[in-house]
Amino acid sequence: MTELLEREELLERLAALHAQGGRLVFVGGEAGVGKTALVRTFVAGAKPPFLHGSCENLSAATPLGPFVDVAAQTGGALAETVAARAEPRDVALALLHELSQPRVVLLEDLHWADQATLDAIRVLGRRIDSTSALVLGTYRDDEVEGEHPLRVVLGELASAPAVSRLSVPRLSLEAVRGLAAPSGSDGDAIHRLTQGNAFYVTEILAAGGGALPETVRDAVLARVAGLDPAARRLLEVVAVVPSRTELWLLESVTGAEFEHLDDCLTAGILHADGDAVAFRHELARLALESTVPAHRRRRLHARILSALVARSSGSVDPSRLAHHAEEAGETAATLNYALAAAAQADEAVAHREAVAQYERALRHGAGLEPAERARVLGAYALHANSAGRYPEAIAARTEAIAICRSLGDRLGEGDHLARLGGPYIAVGRNADAEDASRAAIDVLERVPASPELATAYNVQAYMRMLNRDNAEGVAWGTKALALAERFDDRDLVAGALNSIGTSYLMSGEIERGIEGLLRSIEAARPPRREFRVGSAYGMLASGLGEMYELERSERYAHAYLEHAREHGSDETYILSWLACVRVYRGDWDGGTELARSVLDSGQGAIGRITALIALGRVRARRGDPGVKDVLDEALERSRSGGHLQRLGHVCAARAEAAWLGGDVERAVEEARAAYPLALEKRHLWFAGELAYWQWKGGALADVPEWIAEPYRLQLAGCAGEAAAAWREHACPYEAARALTEADDESLLLRALAELDRLGARPAAKLLRRALHARGASVPRGLRLSTRANPGELTARELEVLRLVAAGRRNADVAAELVLSPRTVDHHVSAILRKLQVRTRGEAAVAAAELGLLQNR
């Protein structure tokens, strides 16, 4: 093995992180660049010995594969948790528990990680700072582009304080020259060809002599060419087994060739790994595998499969058996093992792997009875839907419906019809979702009442709620609830209570809505219904935001985010609502920062709309450029669903922006675009705001009596009362805007001071003009920076200061306030400057002296 070149700096950084403890480090680099060599060198002398797990290059990986490896080394509680087929989060918590001592854990090849492994790594990343361990995860950074699941996890953990990334660079020309020199090879030519890829370089040097191989594959094969034919046949066996090959397996599949194992090890082509052997690099395995002719490969897979089956009665990982069975072309065996592997993935909540195994089963499913095929299609559709593979879920349900119809299975037909609703809505086919939902109820009401009918009622309730047909949402939800209780199905009870609660919330019955959603969480509390718990918190956060119950919305948004981080669910939608809520509460910097983080993440199509609205509102209110871009995109993205919850929000923001931009006619036009829909659904706030912009443009004939209180007061000409109502909803900008409509000059001046404080330039400018026209004496705006005045902290800075004074690190402050660490750094610098102190300790003292630490 060659000495590690040009890695001193990386090793030093790893050593420093190890010394700090409680860190998760992702080590990235292209295939063959030397990630494994680096981390193996680093962990070689570790005491106690390092723990090790790796992901396999399988089309459908074993759920929690690397954690299964690690558990075999630790034994104890972690092994029990893994053996009990626990969920990813519990496995991660069990591992964290093992890490009380300063150990190193090496998780290799995370670019192949299954979904359950990634979920567990999310939890590790969020909590690793509670341990003194160092967890290293290697991955190929050139293979995690676009929507690769690992990239999503890397993005989510980017803000976690204890998580960092290292990148392993290629070797420099000098390093390659140094490696080539002893054999007298042309270092420059090798560097040109290999671009400094460490594995490629060593393969060329090991092959030696003659012309330089054109590709890394040629280099590997040139090196193998010198071996005895029997040794090469042995290598072929190792090559068709993904990742590592156990010695017993190799011995039982080979004959006399086994004697040549030593040759392969001595030549450095294979290396021993406990009681198994493996290629020195996956690139070498793939190169060898590609040279095995198809017929021989098939025979080898068949022999490996029967050896695996003979060895163990049922304890071999079914995804491994399914892989070899499929490669061996054994249809019946593939079907059985794929179904077993799918069930395993289902237990680990690894949707992607379950989808892959069900697809494999269906590919080999000619022998399935129709009823069984419908059942498999249903399970496949469930996971495809959860994995975001909506078209596949729709196709599978559609086929299952046809099978159930031909069998006269009404329950099955109705159930599949009802469950078509979710994926149809996800792809924007609302009319198809509606038809399927109605058809499901129709079919299921003709047979005795069933849990399937409860599901069908609840799908309809959910769709009515999404459409903001609130009374119908409550009615269908109540029917679903009654049946769910009758069948004692707690998951369905939680689902029905969610639809009912959210519908109440949207009709303005806030307390009843909150009560329903909290009851939904109660019903979902026993394990395995985390989806329901997250959904209820999400509805509370977004629904209360839509209803301008901002303080409570923010509280439930934090509850949601905490839950989502533990369970690996999507954060973008609720982050986007939190952004809007912050904007409406007057925290424009905090709101736009969150909105930007949602937009920059590239995730979450629906969250993107809400984030764009938050950004557009602030830009319009500040008079900043870029309003049109973001609100045009928001409108474009809202059109496909056609739902009031997006269109109403977007059109209201567009009307506001047009009005602040001085285009009153367009403001009226934008407001009118969604107004009839808002009236039809009796949406208190959207109807209120859309009516308001028409009224401002002098184009509103009738004022609905039922709109939200602050707007009703404004339209009735009660500016002072309206402002008070807005303040009750914690909306300082809207309160000031209401005051601008007062007659009393002192109220107008108060409005002006507030608009100046908020930095609301366009509204302040309009008000100044109106005041001048009245002949009032108008104060100039805030010219000098407010910061010239020591101790004058913003609300956000006060929040940060309170946490800093309580001894919290910046990273913890960032996590708690859902801000980026860099923003917290900025706030802390600003605080130090304003308080004219040098250290955080002095800031705490100064703040206490100034009386800044009491709660507002």
Binding site: L615, V618, G626, L782, L784, R822, H826
Partner: protein, 98 residues
């Protein structure tokens, strides 16, 4: 990155205040160099002190606001630049004295 003009009218009482602000601006700019680049500024003579017209490149208007907050700079108005017409190089910079 887009180009923006930032108006900071009558932002400072004196040239000395402005100089301190310029140092803070540079420091804050270095911390967020992916998002913002200060190109040049024109210092305005105003009845009650000095102001500036600044040319920046930035990833968004919010990046300009964040930089201004971090460096303690006032912002009156941010305008996006659609195009640049260069006729002559800038005249030799002069230092204001107060």
């Amino acid at each position: 990155m887009d180009t923006y003009v930032i108006l900071r009218r009558s932002g400072w009482r004196s040239g000395d205040d402005l100089e301190e602000a310029a140092a803070r601006s540079t420091a804050a700019g270095e911390q967020m160099s992916d998002d913002i680049r200060w190109i040049r500024s024109y210092v305005l003579e105003e009845p009650d002190g000095v102001g500036t017209v600044c040319i920046y490149q930035a990833s968004s208007p919010e990046a300009i606001r964040a930089h201004a907050a971090a460096a303690d700079l006032p912002v009156d108005e941010i305008v996006k630049v659609a195009d640049t017409v260069l006729v002559r190089p800038d005249p030799t910079p002069v230092t204001i004295d107060n």
